[in-house]
Symmetry: C2
Subunit: 486 residues, 2 copies
């Protein structure tokens, strides 16, 4: 389809956000539907974006002392059922293997929805004394949660992710680890994906099944909905107790260690699309963009083509070894036999930060035209200066996208004090609503049932501020963040 | 256990190879058994070795123009059954999901034993014309084959691997691709893992189910058994036909593309253990070793400790930025409160290429003692010279291990011409047997049933050599490689 038309048409973001999102994912060839309901095929362009954020997070995880490991895909039913709250949370979403090797299995095997249960069982043999702690492990793998309503990248029956699992001698150490995981997610989201996030704690209702508390980072998408960008769980001694993990501490007493787990998934590819994209398609931050610059040669005849090709060949020499914040400059020349207009559209849809147009007259003038994806601003630059200037341009672009997202979030965050206001603002503008809440499960449920909004977080940096709960008028100590969410 | 004893005892390689192998895997903490039969837990040290070979192969795959993608874990039963020979090959090993999301599924889902079937179905929508070819994809994922007899790394019900899948307009292009995949495996095995391999074609009986032919690289382990180190399959038009993939060629005719697939798995961690290890444990090639050098400080009192610590601190400065063939020098200092003897044993078991012993007298003499893992050869080196000398030492060690493995293979490769000789040599010495074969399935089966040996390959570089088949005496054109194998 795209090959034939001059322009790949996609739904307008402002008119049909879900349609726009699906169009971008499919037509920019990030992902595709699979023959299995709810599962996803990640195509090269989408996978390259995932690899970039994965590698950046992996560097953080290793730098902070964690080791990558692998645990099996299968969790025996009896293990999954050891921690009561945990199994209750995941049971409805589990896919079960009942037959294998031509026989019916004596015990059903769950495809891991997450690995707490099997890890707790196994590390029992590894943790004997305080010298074996902390145990800091990380897994990159696939998990399955049988979701009823799925959307590419955002909610799929199978997804790729990272799950860290750690064990500590003291509660304080575990709490520090929960914060360390969260900081990794903040840093990848903000510094790599240019997506500003709010850090905070989940309400009881939104806490991970089996955890003592769950911290998260929450981001705003271009349709003003919230998206959870990573969660970090304090598991306390829950899993250690049910699995019977004990260690001999320095004081010669046997104790259960404290656990944490934290995860970050391919849904962040969806977040990157929805946090920056516009009517023309993707807008990728340079750190994560598979191509940071695409050169579009412009010519009418062989002579023009030769002149442009010569200039591009010289650029090749100049660009070799150019470093950007995310490694060697990633650029490509689009020599396809298509019109320049087709190529502009193609690479805009794919969110390439800069396009470089070079025609024979440019070559004669020793320049090229650099076009910025975010606002199509054009700038003529001397060919000789490009290698030196591009890293700075890319860094400024990265910072600009982050600032734009920050501004957008600020403009769409509302402080409301009454339920009437709350409903009005939510329906009119959406966005983040900072509102007083008594802390009660019932009020939270009622708001959700009434409006579709959930408490996203009790933000860490929300100041003390006396108020009265939207629903039951009881005292509230600070505002919490409500939003409709993905 | 290891913590308490001076020496971690493992079975002797020469007396009990399988026992030695399991001891090394478990006691060097490469992997562990899991609560699910046949599945494996890969621990940090084992996973780091896997990451090293994975990353090296990934670089080759990307350099040669392939893109990483992801396809779902689940393959609907109907898809798996489309290619008759393929399903017959895998059906007995498949694990089936029959229930998910609290309900029984209308169609059973196979856990992928390999992804040809689902990929063929999906690319049908992507391949329309010759311009969409070649399509060069690679997947890093987990697959499940329900094996009855499993061994850590070598044969597990779930394993991690890479599977490349490509589609081409012509048979010749596909054949070149099969060779390209095989060259990747040769290069990772030989240049990264220091394991020499023989390249060749599998017999009909050993060909991948559904393939036209299968090429492979085959290596010899220290017990003289063969291990397949990677396979590359010419799928011809088989999968394209059964899935109905067609493209419009330059000549305006609709054709089925030619497919290839090739894979390399975590079993190569097992191969690395078995190709180089000795009675003291692992012997790791420097390119793949998580630590290339471990420094063991030796001292009796605080004064001695301070002197040694000072020297090590200066080494830290000198070592920063030192590059080896596989990236920045990977070294660590073992400051644990254990005896030097314990540490020597610990790091020998883990196959660290060089140990550096530094005591107060060494510091006074401005030197350290470098001990080579493979033969425990000792060499005193000036502290000032280490940073400059280590990369060369590591490169020589890498080359030395490769040469040692080559020599070992040469010494254990036998040319035999009669079945009696064949059986005698196989039972007495094992190793690789180069012997004449008529090309018949029946003779191959008989040899396997009689002796347990299989035809590993028809080697590419085996010269024309007239002979008579071991079993039925019919003419043979060249020798083929027989061995007992993993």
């Amino acid at each position: 389809m795209a090959k034939d038309g001059f322009v790949t048409s996609i739904a307008r973001q402002s008119e049909d956000f879900p349609g726009w999102y699906n169009d971008v994912v499919l037509k920019a060839e990030l992902a595709d539907y699979s023959p299995v309901r709810g599962c996803m095929i990640i195509r090269p362009y989408g996978y390259a974006i995932w690899e970039s954020m994965r590698d950046e997070l992996d560097r953080y995880i290793k730098r902070t002392g964690h080791s990558n490991v692998y645990f099996p895909l299968f969790v025996p039913r009896s293990l999954l059922e050891k921690e009561a709250e945990h199994v209750e949370g995941f049971n409805p979403q589990v896919a079960w293997v009942t037959h294998a090797g031509g026989e019916e299995l004596a015990e059903w095997l769950a495809i891991r929805p997450t690995s707490e249960a099997i890890i707790a069982e196994v590390v029992k043999g590894w943790i004997q004394s305080y010298r074996d702690l902390p145990l800091l492990m990380n897994l990159w793998n696939n998990v399955v949660r049988w979701e009823l309503r799925t959307r590419l990248f955002l909610r799929t029956a199978e997804f790729l992710w990272q799950e860290a699992h750690t064990f500590h001698a003291t509660e304080q150490e575990a709490a520090d680890e929960v914060a360390l995981g969260l900081e990794g997610y903040r840093s990848v989201a903000e510094d790599w994906l240019a997506i500003p996030v709010i850090r905070g704690r989940k309400s009881r209702a939104e806490t991970f099944p089996g955890a003592v508390y769950t911290d998260a980072v929450e981001a705003m998408m271009r349709d003003r909905r919230a998206l959870q960008a990573g969660t970090s769980h304090m598991l306390g001694q829950n899993f250690a107790r049910s699995a019977g993990i004990e260690f001999l501490d320095r004081d010669n007493l046997r104790k259960n260690p404290y656990g944490t787990s934290w995860g970050f998934s391919t849904r962040m590819v969806g977040a990157t699309i929805m946090a920056h994209g516009d009517d023309a398609g993707l807008v990728l931050p340079p750190n994560v963009a598979p191509h940071q610059v695409v050169v579009v040669p412009i010519f009418r005849d062989d002579e023009g083509r030769a002149a442009v090709a010569g200039a591009i060949e010289r650029l090749e020499g100049a660009f070799a070894g150019v470093q950007t914040a995310s490694g060697p400059l990633r650029w490509k020349v689009d020599w396809r036999e298509e019109s320049p207009g087709f190529k502009y559209n193609h690479w805009e849809l794919r969110g390439v930060p800069y396009r470089l147009e070079i025609g024979p007259r440019d070559v004669a003038a020793g320049q090229a035209v650099l076009v910025r994806r975010s606002d199509r601003a054009k700038e003529a630059l001397p060919l000789d200066a490009l290698a030196a200037e591009l890293p700075g341009h890319l860094a400024a672009y990265q910072a600009g996208l982050f600032q734009r997202a920050l501004d957008f979030r600020a403009a769409n965050t509302h402080h409301v004090d009454t339920y009437a206001d709350f409903k009005h603002v939510l329906d009119e503008d959406g966005g983040f609503l900072m509102a007083p809440w008594c802390g009660g499960d019932e009020c939270e449920k009622e708001i959700n049932a009434d409006t579709g909004a959930t408490i996203r977080l009790v933000p860490f940096d929300s100041p003390d501020e006396a108020g009265t709960c939207l629903v039951d008028g009881r005292p509230s100590e600070r505002r919490v963040l409500f939003a409709r969410a993905y």
